[in-house]
Symmetry: C3
Subunit: 663 residues, 3 copies
């Protein structure tokens, strides 16, 4: 197999001779994939209806001849000046009436029918031109859909379409008023036209905010479909993707429309190991079984530049990425991003960064040529990642979307601490491949999901459920009955009430316990015979056991003596629940280990800051720490790349890795 290393490239900016030289340098540098065109509308259609694809044909041809495949992009994130001037109404309009301006990117409304029409026209034409071109490996739609400095659009067309969306969904205002609980703050609507789009930046009820997100997610999906149709009209077999689809919109749903997903990931040496792993796991799982590509990454990631380019590249491969595209080839001489990292710099001369690229790609070719292919890493644990929950968390006076993402990452990190890798999956993904399902936060359990969870547990699965999960209906309203909805029997508990507070306890510090005994909710008990004592925060369950065994209990406050962490046997599996949205890290780690062992998943003893991932015959060990480590890994074999493995001990320098082929 071959790890395909690619780069973003802007032939529109350079003369043809230079493109020829670049193709040669790319080839010699080990580049086999080039992304082109995502910001080139004004160079494809300089005036309305006037198309200039010559430069693009030429570039694709030159690259093709050098054996380099192309990812061709639709340039819709950069509507040209003439279009904005002719149709100023396509610009994003903020809630306060001000509008986006030309000169940045992503200044246009995804809902705008005018904009979509112009986009479709250009894309059809582009598809027609390049449909038969063999070196097109894939099509990328737009660029980072949903990322904009202008915030979400509130233009007249968005408002109109939002009302249509609500009409279709609710049929009557009575239903909408009930669904949104408009009885509070006198928000009952008596006319559809009274309703306006919500947004997380506006302090308002979660019902409106949730439906506003659903509407936007739908609108973005329609924007994608619109583009796919325009391409498929002429290139029916095109493989179509997009990159770094904004995390505020349902990426799983977007993935359904697309052939594969692309990620833009600029890793940082300052972020903890778990963050790197979580981002890679999250993207890998967006489209089930279909490998994701990295469509942008840094040529000089973080400081120092020493070996991190190589280190991070191998960390990508470890977690299932075989196509890695860098941003970008040669510095733009002008423009907002002229100082962005590249392989060649403005002079276009091969220097240190290029030489490093060359070394690294040669090593990759040498290592991987002996494997026909590598399977994706196979995980025994999964974490639920639900966009409806994320959106629900975007409204109300004590929540914001970051909380949801942080909570998921926090759980992911506790698994990683025991050497357990995990998938991040949507609620409708098949659970059967997994032994353990961690659900730190899932506001609403539709009946079907609850049924599937019951079945999963009954067949021997373990579920570790947390906090306010299952306490809300499908409109983010609190349930008027005890929770977790549809799962009380399975978990053997009944959550009757809860208390919300926020002491801003740092997530990762347990030392706070003693000094702040009077400020936190504390719990204690024993797990596997060992004493556990911790802190809970944010959202605290007031529950009754109804069959479950109580493992840990609250120690203080008016909940003193009531259960905090419970387990229940259900069929052949186990249902575990802890009653807080935030638990101090040491305790959550121990509770997670308890669930891991219950599920029969082996823990891997690894030094701190070291991760291990297995793909088929290979296991990748990566040291994310700033100090060297030396340890006995739990596998035997021979070193394929990196590191040093002698007398059973693996030696890893800081930011170094080692790949072992199992015996």
């Amino acid at each position: 197999m071959k790890i395909e290393i690619g780069t973003a490239y802007y032939p529109e900016a350079w003369p043809e001779e230079r493109v020829r030289l670049d193709a040669k340098l790319m080839k010699e540098g080990g580049i086999s994939l080039v992304r082109i065109g995502e910001f080139a509308w004004s160079h494809m259609e300089p005036r309305e209806g006037v198309y200039t694809f010559e430069w693009l044909h030429s570039a694709v041809k030159i690259l093709g001849r050098a054996g380099i495949k192309v990812i061709l992009c639709t340039p819709t994130s950069t509507a040209p000046a003439w279009l904005v001037k002719k149709h100023p109404e396509i610009r994003i309009r903020r809630p306060d009436g001000t509008t986006a301006y030309f000169g940045v990117r992503d200044h246009t409304c995804y809902t705008s029918s005018v904009y979509r029409k112009y986009a479709a026209k250009l894309i059809s034409r582009l598809a027609k031109e390049f449909a038969s071109c063999e070196s097109i490996a894939a099509w990328q739609l737009d660029n980072e859909i949903g990322h904009t400095i202008f915030g979400s659009c509130h233009c007249a067309e968005c408002q109109k379409e939002f009302r249509n969306f609500l009409r279709r969904k609710y049929g009557s205002l009575e239903k909408l008023n009930r669904a949104w609980w408009t009885v509070f703050w006198s928000q009952e609507y008596s006319d559809w036209d009274e309703i306006e789009l919500g947004g997380m930046e506006l302090k308002m009820d979660s019902g409106r905010v949730l439906d506003s997100f659903r509407f936007r997610s739908e609108a973005n999906r329609a924007f994608i479909v619109n583009q796919i149709q325009a391409i498929r009209k002429f290139a029916p077999d095109a493989r179509i993707c997009t990159n770094n689809y904004a995390g505020l919109f349902d990426r799983f749903k977007a993935a359904e429309m697309l052939d594969f997903m692309g990620e833009d990931f600029y890793p940082s040496a300052d972020k903890p190991m778990g963050h790197n792993a979580m981002v890679l796991d999250r993207y890998r799982c967006l489209k089930e079984g279909v490998p994701a590509w990295i469509l942008e990454s840094a040529t000089s990631p973080g400081a120092p530049m020493r070996n991190l380019f190589r280190f991070f590249l191998w960390s990508f491969i470890a977690r299932g990425y075989d196509h890695i595209v860098y941003f970008h080839w040669r510095s733009h001489l002008g423009g907002y991003e002229k100082s962005h990292g590249t392989f060649l710099g403005p002079t276009g001369k091969p220097r240190a960064r290029y030489r490093l690229l060359q070394e690294v790609t040669r090593e990759l070719d040498a290592v991987f040529k002996k494997y026909p292919s590598l399977p994706l890493p196979k995980q025994e644990a999964a974490i639920l990642h639900d966009y409806e929950t994320l959106w629900s968390w975007c409204a109300g006076f004590w929540s914001h979307w970051g909380e949801f993402e942080k909570t998921v990452e926090y759980s992911h990190r506790q698994l990683l601490a025991w050497g357990v890798n995990s998938d991040l999956i949507p609620p409708d993904r098949d659970f059967s491949p997994y032994k353990l399902l961690v659900i730190p936060l899932q506001t609403h359990f539709p009946k079907k999901l609850a049924r599937r969870l019951r079945a999963f547990i009954a067949r021997g699965g373990v579920v570790l459920l947390g906090g306010s999960s299952g306490m809300y209906d499908g409109n983010s309203k609190l349930l008027p009955e005890p929770g977790p909805e549809h799962l009380r029997e399975v978990f053997g508990i009944s959550i009757e009430d809860f208390i919300v507070f926020n002491s801003d306890m740092p997530m990762a510090k347990n030392e706070a316990r003693e000094s702040s005994l009077s400020k936190q909710v504390t719990f204690s008990g024993t797990l596997n015979g060992k004493p556990v004592a911790g802190l809970a925060d944010k959202w605290i369950a007031d529950m009754e056991p109804a069959g479950a065994s109580v493992l840990l209990s609250y120690e203080n406050t008016i909940l003193k003596g009531q259960p905090f962490f419970t387990e229940n046997r259900y069929g052949d599996g186990w249902a575990l629940y802890y009653g807080a949205n935030l638990v101090d890290e040491a305790s959550l780690r121990v509770m997670t280990r308890y669930a891991v062992e219950k599920a029969g998943i082996p823990c891997r003893a690894l030094p701190e800051n070291v991760e291990a991932v297995t793909r088929g015959p290979l296991t990748f060990f990566l040291n994310h720490g700033d100090t060297p480590v030396s340890f006995k890994p739990d596998c035997k074999g021979t070193v394929v790349a990196g590191g040093r493995f002698s007398r059973g001990r693996l030696e890893l320098q800081p930011r170094d890795f080692c790949v072992i082929e199992h015996e």
Copy 2:
């Protein structure tokens, strides 16, 4: 007597059967007061002129039958969607032309005649419906008048009315130009229509800002009067209040219109003891001699929830509150505040918080049944709190409104440190009940106020005056003569000049003195034979003694050797003055004690973080600290509630209290 415990309640959100169950639970929980209706416009008038009061009649009836009285609210903080759609001009308009949006609350202009008309129509109707209803204990106007996330309104009608207000006030532009000192920065007006409303958010002259505040305060008062008239038309005997009237507008003036004042106070365990006491003292004094109610407080105040509900409730009673309403009964299932604390939670089941309520109300009933009534706490010291000063402090390049409130709280805290409780009174309140008057900041002394102060001192009163008090005229202009105006003779000083600077010295740290000798203005001397050495900041007086004795003098800077703290005998009393707007806490404390002793007020020796308040036969001791205390109180008697009192020593756990009936 009975301490009335109440709750906000939203019968518009629940079916009648549930209201019946809630009434039963309230009664059993010790609730005797319910606040209803403040956000229910769309449920009272779902379409223009269509009234639906059935649910409200039913709720009031059910509650009445259970012996629970009702505070009925006008729902004007939440204008419904149909009204906003029909009359978008009623929305708050910001100075930059953007407007408030529907979906939050307090989105409407208090000045708007259209809005007032609609409000009055609904309120009249509401009054007509419920005029004869015996279980209505009181009416609450609007909700938290003046609190809005949208800032103050600058709509066309506000501008027009502001000009009318100025025309009435000044008569001629010449007078206005002089009053505002428009000669600076070329701001002289030659046409009334050139003038626009100011605001503290806009950097502009204090004259315009001060009159803008006066205008708004008047406009809000008219808004109140408008509502009172609408109610009294049908319910002439209605007792009318409002809650948490915004602190940027004159609360004393608002209180004049109302029968009693209501407070929303969510205490925090993280705030110092003095803050709690100050807020309660401030509200209690808004309407002289008329007890204030707490109209909102937290069901689960801060962390931990252990006993703070009980602790804070007793702290309210200690400072004169016998009606305490909590927010709120049962969680809204949706809406912006669905996660707010309640007694019942979304399931509506009595759980831990309800059980605590029950316990606490039973204790209250048991304790207070033997007292026919308790007088308000009687204070011997008062602090002047003047809205004109607060507003004056809102403009100019080195001031803001927080400074004034902070300065008042700072002085209040120094009294409390010696066990001296105080009232916070407006300048036109009767001074004769007090022995000591502390005036940390009173920009302007109108002749009448100065005369009353002179009389107060002459008759034996003590005044402790600070900083730039008396240095401004009634338009916040600096006086061209030495200050303090009208009081130079009384204080025996002449403030000839001043120096302003700002080293951001922390208010509470005296340790800074040595290390920053060269950065602060320092003073020293002796008080009662003990040496005092401190720091002054922000505004420093350059004064001459004119009869006064100099107690402390400046040590450094060009003011070296000049007086800083002076005292003057006047009639039977004493006039004390210190020449800075900020004094380090240790020194101000000692200076305050000097004034307290001069006034013949006994100091109470209390451990740190412990407060003591006396109401008639009872003294309340409250430990706000995180550690237990044990001390000998200065009174004898028997424990009525809380604490432990044995062998003359009082033992108080953290956040615990003890009430003693005097022998």
Copy 3:
């Protein structure tokens, strides 16, 4: 000679008798210069075409009779209410469409032809009235041109004029598109009307931002010329200046229009010594050979007020200022700045600040009467300060204008540390007076500048060049060839590529080196036989020596072993280059010393926080530190003012100075 001490004064605010008294007090206080009129439009022209100059004539006459000269100001920073009402289009318009409001100052557009017309009309009239008045020493245009809280204007006229500016400059859109590199992000223009003004607050390409700055700089210059013409029409010999021209616009170009430059400088005791020196050096150099005036400074600078008024005044004189005007005479009773420091305070009585003024001016008169005149301080080193570079630094995703100013100040401080004072000069200033030229950042070297630099070095000069200098073209685009442009041969290097990153290393801390070895780019080597080891950050050169000697080299990263600091003999001089935009302070200091010695400039051994400046026969020593110092200065002579000089040792208290006349 006489050091002229002045004050801003507002006779429009006071009655004539008071003006008479003020003139007397000024004279007795040592004031010989008064600035009048800069905020008085509404008092000069209260209604359109109605002029009221009586007060001004009277004031000028009274002051003249007292022997006090006048700086007469055009009041254009405060357009009056009637004008704003009649022509609201003259208000500054922000990019989001909101506009400035009346009530502050600087609310009008410098480009507006309507505004300029009204301004010119008033100014002509003013000039006509006062042309023959002998006591007018100078005219000041506007007040602090370019300083406004409203940001730069984007009104329709600005947009139109910007397009005209671009048309004139580029002739064709093809040229503009190439110059701005609009190929990136699809920003190619096909119609002039598509183009809108940029701004540093908008995230956009540097080409547009750079030309927007150039346009604004031109517009401001035209605004100045407009006013000069209006004055010269009637007062052809008027000496014209302005004050504190905003640092975002080309001050050197503005100086060309004006007879001399004025500075507003409010020094702070909290800022390091170097900042004070840098500001004074910068202003002094704005107009070559013409002394600058300080047109505003603080009457009570910082804390403590003890002697800092005197200390800072002498620090101004030391660096070449003989005219020093303070802000201001007597407190305005109202207006935004009523609390600003003054000599007299609101009461108008001479108090501590006035007495200090009197003392200080008497001392000045006594000291300087024996010198016929003092030359400006003469420096042997200069630092390049280029507005085109500053503007280039205002756009792009990792830069901002502060970076450029910080970088210049950083280099200035390293010279000062060795007792070397320097001029801050524009690129077109004559280099021949200097031995050393420090160029920390000069994005673009036009051919002519490069030629002049080559000549300077060839004739024996030393240039110390840093970081990304010479890597950009005249439109802030990166050069596609190795740099530094036109100077590769001179420096004997070829910068082939660079790496940008940002670890937010504190500029001044070298201790970070060991602990962050893995996060920084490190370099080492020896200078003058002593080992040097340091850190580089922000922008790192990847260069080849081409004749130069390598003094220091990179230690780590992919650049390991490559040159970092180089020197090259060229003609009789030396060309030194270091390859980073940020170097830790200790290393840059040593490298600077290396360059200073190479240039044959003597280093002065001074204690920390002490500066020394020589003007003709006098050397000024100033101790900016908080502790006393005692040292042997490198000159002999007698004390003329301040300090204590005995047995060859100079003793300086904190914030004290000593002036020595050389033997």
